[in-house]
């Protein structure tokens, strides 16, 4: 026999002003199985909770209905109260008579009627509630960081510092990411390599960190605390354990005409290559698209000169499987290619470059050894025009709708560096708005204007026309002077928008995390949970979540690490007990539920059953892994026989609510 207690909250006047709470308590007191029905000023207060606890003990209640605010608000409060009084917390139901009743309706009579119906539905449901126990699931004490840029490196270092094993998966042959390509950093103008490479080395030398370079995540299974990840180690045709990084092979390789992606294709590399001198791991990689041995079977020079015997033309992609408790996504960004904008002549004029290309042109390790020269004729440029917002803040399909955030600052940096090094060069910056919020940022921009005399012009470049004499005509508007300008420039630099890496979208699908329309990962809460994804156990680090500069990226990387460490510190996590379960006697083994499960929580096994006629039969039946199931209920509807049901929201419970409402 059910013994149900009903507790109606006034919520001060929030509920009591429009709902006659005494009448609600009175009406629900007559429902079958209800042994006590009370109202109280503030049910969630300590004395209100005591009221519930005492009633549970005094009346030996088997179920509790609280008519109060939304269950999203205080369901946990009352569950905990029930638990402390010895009642299973899942025998508590909330009737939402505030957000969905008293705050919506003005008429006391109809609001009271509705509150009674909602209460009755909750009573009908609680009749069928079963005590549930939250299971525990162990946490694997190892983290995976996807992406080895500054974000991934920082996250990995922080997690390792806390004493946990951490693996970095990087798709390129070296870690370092975009920051490795950058020359100087704003607003301090210190050398990027000088602050990044020590961190790369630190990551490589940290015994808790394993770097899987030239690797990709191929598959992700499992759930928070217990992910199983398949990592594809792409064939680099060089034995990582043997290669000493001496670079002899790269010197001797006869195939020297491969566009060097590290230098943005501004110079060439060999088919066997080490991306840059400070690469980590410092191991050669053979590019199979260009290697003469791999393409035609003729050459083998690198193998002959390698004293370590590290060259292995027969190497194939290798799959490794590893278990992780937490995953941090740090897939970063790429600048877009501005070739869709015909007016900027990027695709056919070599002296129109993107900012990242300029970064390489100015870098001491770049194609010109740090001397800024025009790519077309290697002469010194005397007039340089910077164009801001190329592809950012666009409302068309060519560009991105958002502000890329970092361009204003790096353009100021470029302008300043050029004026510092080549005072004879005139620098023009065409801007729409200069956006420099951040510590010492606006001061930095003002320095470019005031100290370095960079010409900032409010307006946009409309057309870039390469001329026969090698100069470039830049047609632009100066909105403040209200005139149209023509600048006879030597070089044009486009501050192109940045976009999430192309690998992010398929990765999001594997991780079952959400993305926005621009393919940036969506955080669990835009203000309060900025480094967590909505999927438990998956954290976000760096520009994969949105455009960020280096300090912000590092801050977020450490924050993501802190969240991951918080998870890894636990020995086990409590699972949601409101999960699906299959009644084996009714299951047909038809696999419909398995097909709709987004988590792969359903597996099948052949089980022996005793049939009514005492014979035995082997049947294929579904079973749900309660630690993997998240309780969406998709399977319960796919199941034609009704064998699949959901704890806490069972077929009969929902149907009881329907009946109570429709009566």
């Amino acid at each position: 026999m059910q013994r149900i207690g009903v507790f109606v909250c006034h919520c001060g006047t929030n509920i009591a002003a429009t709902v006659d709470v005494k009448a609600v308590a009175e009406a629900l007191g007559h429902e079958a199985g209800v042994v006590i029905s009370q109202d109280y000023q503030y049910m969630c207060s300590e004395s209100g909770q005591d009221l519930v606890k005492n009633a549970i003990k005094e009346h030996n209640l088997t179920g509790v209905v609280v008519c109060s605010c939304s269950p999203r608000m205080h369901e946990n409060t009352f569950r905990k109260a029930a638990a402390s009084a010895g009642l299973n917390p899942y025998l508590v139901e909330i009737a939402n008579i505030r957000e969905q009743c008293s705050w919506i309706h003005k008429d006391i009579a109809s609001a009271t009627d509705k509150a009674i119906v909602l209460g009755k539905a909750a009573v009908a449901k609680v009749h069928l509630n079963a005590p549930l126990t939250a299971g525990e699931s162990p946490v694997v004490k190892r983290a995976l960081v996807i992406g080895g840029g500054i974000a991934g490196i920082q996250t990995a270092l922080d997690i390792a510092e806390a004493g946990f094993e951490v693996d970095i998966v990087e798709k390129e042959p070296t870690i370092g990411g975009k920051m490795a390509q950058i020359d100087k950093t704003f607003p301090t103008l210190d050398c990027a390599a000088c602050i990044l490479t020590p961190k790369m080395v630190e990551a490589a030398q940290n015994e808790k960190i394993t770097i899987h370079s030239f690797s990709e995540v191929a598959d992700v299974k499992g759930f928070v605390g217990n992910f199983t990840v398949t990592i594809k180690k792409k064939a680099r045709f060089v034995d990582e354990t043997k290669c000493t990084g001496c670079g002899l092979c790269t010197e001797k390789c006869p195939m020297k005409k491969v566009p060097n992606e590290f230098n943005m294709g501004l110079d060439n590399r060999t088919a066997v290559y080490i991306p840059f001198a400070q690469a980590v791991p410092k191991v050669a990689t053979i590019d199979p698209n260009y290697c003469l041995m791999l393409k035609n079977g003729k050459c083998g020079v690198c193998s002959k000169v390698c004293t370590a015997g590290a060259i292995d033309y027969k190497q194939t992609d290798k799959m490794i499987e590893q278990k992780y408790g937490a995953i941090v996504v740090a897939t970063g960004f790429n600048p877009i290619k501005p070739d869709k904008y015909d007016e900027f002549a990027y695709s056919y004029c070599p002296d129109v470059v993107t900012s990242l290309e300029l970064e390489r042109l100015m870098n001491a390790a770049g194609p010109n050894g740090g001397t800024l020269l025009r790519p077309s004729d290697k002469t010194h440029p005397h007039t340089i025009v910077f164009v801001q917002c190329v592809g950012s803040r666009c409302d068309d399909e060519k560009g991105k709708p958002y502000c890329s955030k970092i361009c204003c600052m790096y353009t100021a940096k470029h302008a300043m560096l050029i004026r510092e090094k080549y005072p004879d060069t005139e620098v023009y910056v065409f801007y729409i708005d200069v956006r420099t919020p951040g510590k010492n940022f606006d001061e930095f921009y003002r320095r470019a204007v005031e100290q370095y005399n960079v010409h900032y012009i409010k307006g946009m470049v409309g057309k870039v026309t390469p001329k026969a004499d090698g100069k470039i005509d830049v047609q632009a508007s100066d909105l403040l002077a209200n005139e149209q300008l023509h600048i006879n420039a030597d070089m044009v630099v486009l501050a192109t928008a940045i976009e999430p890496d192309k690998t992010a979208r398929p990765l999001a699908t594997m991780l079952t995390t959400q993305m926005d329309t621009n393919d940036f990962f969506t955080e669990a809460h835009p203000k309060l949970r900025p480094v967590e994804s909505a999927t438990a156990g998956i954290f976000l680090s760096g520009a994969c979540q949105g455009p960020k500069d280096i300090p912000e990226t590092v801050a977020q990387a450490s924050a993501a690490a802190a969240k991951a460490i918080g998870l890894l510190c636990k020995n086990s996590i409590t699972c949601n007990p409101c999960v699906a379960h299959s009644d084996e006697l009714m299951c047909n083994g038809c696999s419909a539920c398995e097909k709709v499960c987004p988590y792969g929580a359903i597996t099948y096994q052949d089980k022996e059953f005793r049939m009514p006629d005492r014979s035995t039969a082997i049947r294929r039946v579904a079973s749900v892994n309660p630690a993997v199931c998240q309780g969406c209920g998709a399977c319960t509807v796919a199941c034609p026989s009704g064998a699949m049901d959901l704890n806490g929201f069972s077929n009969s419970q929902i149907m009881a609510e329907v009946d109570a409402i429709c009566k």
Partner: protein
């Protein structure tokens, strides 16, 4: 059809916990009105709603049933509402095939931020069902309280 001015329909609304139920809460927080005919049943995801529940509601005397879930692509469980969309499209099409008035059933995507949309949808739905009058075609008179 005769329109009874005093007809107060029984409306059952199934709302997914993560978006639409929160959206309904938000319309409360913002004090946006909609008729008290609407009674909400919380489900974890719109894909938890079995066609049986919808038919059961009609059987027991509901005049309209509305199902609310996260916008496609925003499902907390990644794909639940996509399954919902197919199932419910086919079910509503079948009810239409059997001659049940189309405006008695509805599926709406309401996010946790769309309190105003929730109220507007409910106002519209109640109005539409009121126009249709009591559900005679799919109601089980036996279960109606006299």
């Amino acid at each position: 059809m005769q329109v009874n001015e005093n007809f107060e329909p029984v409306i059952v609304a199934f709302c997914c916990n993560w978006c639409s139920y929160a959206g309904a809460d938000l319309s409360g927080t913002n004090r946006l009105n909609y008729p008290s005919n609407v009674k909400i049943i919380r489900v974890p995801c719109s894909c938890r709603v079995n066609p049986m529940f919808i038919l059961r509601a009609f059987q027991k005397g509901a005049d309209g049933v509305i199902l609310c879930g996260c916008h496609p692509g925003d499902c907390h469980y990644t794909s639940g509402n996509y399954f919902t969309r197919r199932r419910i499209t086919l079910l509503y099409s079948m009810l239409d095939f059997l001659g049940i008035e189309r405006n008695r059933t509805r599926l709406e995507w309401v996010s946790a931020a769309e309190g105003a949309k929730f109220a507007a949808v409910m106002n519209q739905f109640v109005e539409d069902v009121k126009k249709l009058g009591p559900n005679r075609r799919l109601e089980d008179l036996r279960c109606r309280k006299q």
